[in-house]
Assembly symmetry: D2
Homo-oligomer: 337 residues x 4
């Protein structure tokens, strides 16, 4: 089959390329970029030298003959391309935010005017652990944001105790590496400014907050998520601490999580989550803690923001949409150290 | 004057030495270590080569002729030495936890049996911004823990709004560098295990939680602090996010913090706190944010855990106890980058 | 087929495990460790949780029924086990130094008394790019050291110009990450001591110097290599700068290297080598520079010390020894970023 | 006295500001910047908040009433300003390359056309350890480059053995942190591209090579330096390995270095140089090694590129030019860890 990665000059695009080039079902991969059209892909992504020696091409939704298109372009742009692609029978995994929140008013409060809200009905939120069956039938999958992937997987299982927890005061204090900011050169993300530094950067009003909340309402209807991210001096990885108040003393939380995810190949319930144990892999590690004195659960989740938080999950979604084995091409194990 | 640093082989001790060697009021400094007695200080702390070429000595509380003793030894050990030192008229800055919590039952719940609780009455918690006048008159100062320094400075000003906030659900999600763990070689803290990694390490029940709570009760009597630390791949620095629910929409929080600390030389209210801006200095930077949608204040504080969180604050306390200028020896500015 | 990794608690062993668990020809993998016998492998190598949930076992060369044994144990110990394994018809990839230098006197000058020098004749140095045909027929492969892998691949092609260079003054100034030191907790390798630090650590007399020299003499008989390593604050990666004096102005060095390695899948000649472009992969990137003013070639090579410098190359050798596709199990691409 | 820092938006300028703000002889400091004129200094250099709350001003060489001017501006621009400043009786420490190489042809080969070569005669190379007496009398000091500071201090003492060494094949393989590249946002220096990476970046033809060579010719007339730098994932620090062939078996090299620098306050001869032991300080640590087998000396030197390699040394020069104590304002000790 033929895959096209649109916006492949970025880091998420790069990781999709890397995966597809070793994917046994994918016969051909092409990469588009407005800024780099005509230039060698391996000039920018030097890791791919020898594995992908073609050039970036331009993108034309009306002409591509790909079977699947990955859109790794900004929100507001995806919504221009998706209708054209679907009309031509091409399946789409959209890594932008455009179809993640299927509530037009909410979307537009945080982003821009939406031009194809009619697709909200059929777009599926691409978190396979929670929406696998819908993804299998989808033409359009909205690949989740990186923070939402970590936060939602850590909180959805608490739906079983939704009446025991104070859903109005859930704090998600998340930490991310620098690759989440993308490839653009900005002083804020220079090595000299980031290294040996912990920086608060968007304590209030981050766009991933409504996404997290919107999806979690399906599990915990009254949830209100207070989300604060911090920038960390690592390249890859998100560690997300969810603090949830409620008397869960009668519950074996860890067992509950283990059961909730027992059939999942990419969620591991561990003693103490850390980003290194999932780095460069599609795993999400979750550790579950309960503070009996404070009646507070702390659910810690760790992902690689570019794999499970972007490109790996995108391919996981493609595998489901096309009926391939779910782990095809993304079964690489993390490393130690 | 003559200063003695007990337990100077550790990182906190090293930083006190570094400061005292350039302190204009200190004529003589000595360093003790059980493990390194007789060995050159600059063999272990190679940064001090040329500045301090003496050896580690042994410690005998009954014989030292120091004017001030800094105890950088484990809890449980300080309480053995302090009574002897005070009896001989020597002023003490204790960096252990032994006199921080002047509530015997609470102390013993988290630490060990206390052998000199009679000193609780006179021991002063050494956070100059909050207890300066008492410190000036003290013979015994309990130097605050690193996390508590950051957390308490960020939350004490909220005492003014204690009736507006939900004091029962204050979350402090703090991040620390590796120097906080001390100099002991353990696999958990090796470079290979820490670098490029974010690790949860004591999500529940950290000993700094009761210390933070105990001191803050003087400002917010009903406060209950839910404290969770994370280990970060930096050497120095703590970033502490305090999440406080409550309708503070009528309050100008930032102005309030600026007024609260307006006479303080070492607390700066900034736009967005980060550890690098205070690293290698005695500053505590605080940024104040309010999430109007969620009715949540986020107070972020940043310190260098070995300076404001240990050795720098210890010398700040010594300066106050001896009537020196408060910034003597600790007025170094942080660096950029 | 059945594989056994001896000494699998270390980092090299961990990487061999990681690879073999995804190797299509390997049906069964076992891991031995003296220190961790009976304990779960994924307790120590938490990256493997879910993929390898067995325990470390003990090792008995007389009883193992493996088809191939990887020895990731110290020099001096391998030589005790190898004869027993070969006698029983088991193929061996030895990651120790015991059979790398087939010159007993030279070996013993740097290591220990050798107890099975009779095997020198048949042991093959496991650098497939240079000794592929011999490896295919070998029962015993001596997997190269990490620094030697980088240095030898960068210098062997200069054999073509051996009369133009000053072979007596070749300087190899190499830099390594901390995983090269292994998993043992030592103060020297703590995060606090390594991070933000560049440290010289064995400027003279490193054991990899004779290994580099010994192998390169097959290409440049008069070569004398002056080798100096430095410790770098990264986990994985070696960058090796080889400085070679000689008038090579009439030579197109880069073309020469490209031709030399044109059929190789794991050596890439690039513009400017760096470790990140090969990290977590089996590639060796080489960049070739010539200083016309100083008549000096600088050949820079980059590898992941645990993959091409240890476990990846070990499996590459196994693939050759068993007639599998050379890249089976080790074709993962590096990441960007 | 009054000091002016021209080009204070950069990292070197920032470090000069930081030092001067705590310098007991400096009554007033001003900071110029073309790009940031009118904006608060502590907006850009947030470390200085509270210590320097003025704005960046414009620069006019004809009007400034400073006693000393530090020029932290690009080469080619300094030479425009210096004559005007000297004419007005103002002393200048120039951090650009414009007066470091007092050989017009050599300068112009590597830089640009020189417009005030007449000043070469009186400009003094500002390496106090080697040229202290001249600096004391100078009106114009050319502050050395960062790599040259490290390399020259490590090689000048070998002048005593200039007939024993092969001066034609001296290799300087140096490693630098990212702050050496300055504050400008470029993809090459982003955290994502630098962290966990070792990158060769200018293996041949770096402009510091002629500077090193030119100064060292005063000590070792026949020296030819082959210089290669590498970029390292640390913020501050240069580690410079000088490899020098020659039979020095009859020499006690370490003693020689200790004697050479015995009166120097900022050069320490140590067992094994590393950057952390000098970081944030004006020290240069040097370790001296000799490879008897290869007849090769390896002299390793470590500096903080922004202190001894830029701003600290600039103030050291100012102190000498004005007759202040040489260590005034720059006697901060490095930290551990």
């Amino acid at each position: 089959m033929k895959a096209l990665v649109v916006g492949a000059s970025g880091y998420a695009g790069a990781d999709i390329l890397r995966i597809l080039l070793r994917h046994e079902k994918v016969d051909s991969v092409e990469a588009t970029s407005r800024a780099y059209e005509g230039k060698p892909v391996s000039g920018l992504h030097q890791n791919l030298k020898g594995a992908f020696d073609g050039n970036f091409i331009g993108f034309n939704a009306d002409k591509t003959d790909a079977d699947v298109v990955f859109l790794a372009i900004p929100h507001g742009e995806s919504m221009q391309q998706v209708p054209k692609l679907l009309e031509r029978g091409i399946k789409v995994v959209d890594l932008s935010a455009d179809y993640r929140i299927n509530d037009q008013a909410l979307y537009e409060r945080y982003y821009v005017k939406h031009t194809s809200p009619n697709l909200f009905k059929e777009a599926v939120y691409g978190l396979p652990e929670l929406f696998r069956e819908k993804i299998k039938k989808a033409r359009l999958v909205a690949n989740p944001g990186c923070y939402p992937t970590a936060a939602i997987l850590s909180l959805a299982p608490l739906g079983a105790f939704k009446d025991k927890i104070d859903a109005s005061k859930v704090v998600v204090d998340a930490k991310s590496g620098t690759s989440g900011a993308g490839v653009k050169a900005e002083t804020f993300y220079m090595h000299t400014e980031v290294d040996e530094n912990l920086k608060i950067y968007k304590p209030v009003g981050h766009r991933h907050q409504p996404e997290i909340e919107h999806i979690l309402k399906g599990f915990i209807p009254k949830i209100s998520v207070s989300f604060t991210p911090t920038l960390m001096p690592i390249i890859r990885g998100i560690l997300s601490n969810a603090h949830v108040f409620g008397d869960l003393s009668s519950v074996d939380l860890r067992s509950h999580f283990e059961k909730f995810y027992q059939k999942e190949g990419y969620v591991r319930v561990v003693d103490a989550a850390c980003t290194k144990n999932v780095s460069h892999s599609n795993f999400c590690d979750i550790s579950v803690h309960y503070d009996a004195e404070k009646k507070r659960a702390i659910i810690v989740s760790a992902i690689d923001n570019l794999v499970k938080g972007a490109g790996g999950q995108a391919v996981q979604n493609m595998n489901l949409m096309f009926g391939y084995g779910e782990s095809t091409g993304i079964d690489a194990l993390p490393h130690h150290p």
